[in-house]
Each structure stands twice: as C-alpha cells, then as structure tokens.
C-alpha cells in the first residue's frame, strides 16, 4: 500500500513540477481550458471539466490518475 501511495504521489509531484516549469507554454496553448497532465505531458484538454472527464473516460483513462488543472490568463482570487 505504502509503495503504491508513494508512486502515485511522486508521479503527481513530477507533473506539478513539470507544469510549473512549462506554465507559460501551457498557458499559450490552452488558455481558458481544462488540461489533464500525466507523465509530464498534456494528454487531453477541453473547454469544460465535464467534456474533459467524458473524453478521459471514453479513452479508458481514470481521471484520478491525471493532474487536472484549469489554465487561464485571468487570475482567480478566492
């Protein structure tokens, strides 16, 4: 169990690090879109989260295995 958790966490952290390092490129390609990142690359994108999740599930990709982010030039203040 612990090894599985570590592998999942390390994979997500690598994807987060990759996203931070390539944020401006991703922003240029996917402004105002949801993007799924897995294995340090974008694997799907869509205007809405519903569309993105539908696409991933259609391709037999479990959405929880990907890092999903909404990418936008507009900053969101919570």
């Amino acid at each position: 169990m612990q090894n599985v958790e570590l592998q999942m966490l390390q994979s997500t952290k690598q994807d987060l690090k990759w996203l931070n390092e390539h944020y401006s490129t991703i922003l240029g390609r996917f402004n105002n879109q949801f993007v799924a990142i897995k294995g340090q690359q974008p694997i799907a994108s869509a205007a809405t989260l519903d569309e993105l999740l539908k696409d991933l599930r259609k391709r037999k990709i479990n959405p929880v295995s990907a890092l999903i982010k909404f990418i936008s030039r507009e900053s969101m203040i919570l």
Binding site: E5, M8, L9, T12, L16, N20, L53, V64, F70
Partner: protein, 146 residues
C-alpha cells in the same frame, strides 16, 4: 518532519492521496492549494466530479461563497490524507474538519465552480499542528511538524 510543497503559478500546492471508505474512494490523487486565508478545508466541486464522489448522505454544514459562486458545504468524515515527507516516507492524517462544496446553481455559475480548487486552509494547519513555511523568492515551501 517536513512535507515539501510545490509552487505552481505562484500558488502553494500539495499532492495528497485521499481515501474515503464511506464514499468508496480507495486511493485517489488529490491536489490541494494551501490557502491560509481560508478558514475551511474542502474538496472543490471539480475534484468531486473528477473522483465521481457521491455527496448524498453527507451532513450539511453551511452555505458559503467562494470565488463568486455560492455553495452548499457538507462535512466529509472518515477520510485519510497521505503525504510524502522529505525522507520519502508516507505521512497519514485523518482530518476531522474536511468538507466538500457543491454549487447551488446550474449553468454558468456551476461551470465557474468547477474551476475552484480543493483547499487546505488554516483549520487544517491548526488541527494537525503543522506550520507552513514559504519562501516564494527561493521557490521553496513546506509543512513542518514538531
């Protein structure tokens, strides 16, 4: 003990593994934004959709507004969060104050609600007795316990 955090687009983020037996979530990646300006920790609506997590039967806590959207906030009990510490060991926490948020409206506001991330707030730090250390200029951030 330290838990390294990530800085992504000038937000402090942490990767976690969520287990929620009552919701039949075995092991799921969840990414949180660490926001000490929030007094509540919650799974965002986008995360709920991503996990396909049922919210029926959860205890209603309150109505709240986040990022211009109105939500019903429900208490999420019996969850475990796992983090990776600086020694690459797993650190598990069973937070008592985790919530989920569900938008009250459909249409455009629901779409906007899916963009709001999951949050670990000040309540999480208080409950777990962890300190948050951030140095944006150096690009370093971590939780510290003890």
């Amino acid at each position: 003990m330290k838990i390294p955090l990530q800085l992504v687009n000038e937000q402090v983020e942490v990767a976690a593994i969520l287990r929620a037996a009552k919701q039949r979530i075995g092991l799921a990646n969840v990414n949180f934004v660490v926001d000490t300006g929030s007094n509540k920790s919650f799974l965002g609506y986008g995360t709920i959709l991503q996990l396909n997590m049922p919210v029926t039967g959860l205890q209603f806590a309150e109505h709240t507004r986040i990022g211009g959207c109105t939500f019903k906030m429900f208490k999420l009990s019996g969850v475990t969060l796992s983090f990776e510490d600086e020694k690459r060991d797993i650190f598990r926490i069973k937070p008592n104050n985790m919530h989920v948020v569900v938008p009250t409206k459909k249409g455009e506001e629901r779409e906007n609600a899916t963009r709001i991330p999951s949050i670990l707030g000040l309540d999480f730090l208080k409950e777990t007795k962890m300190a948050l250390c951030v140095n944006p200029a150096k690009g370093t951030a971590y939780f510290e316990l003890g």
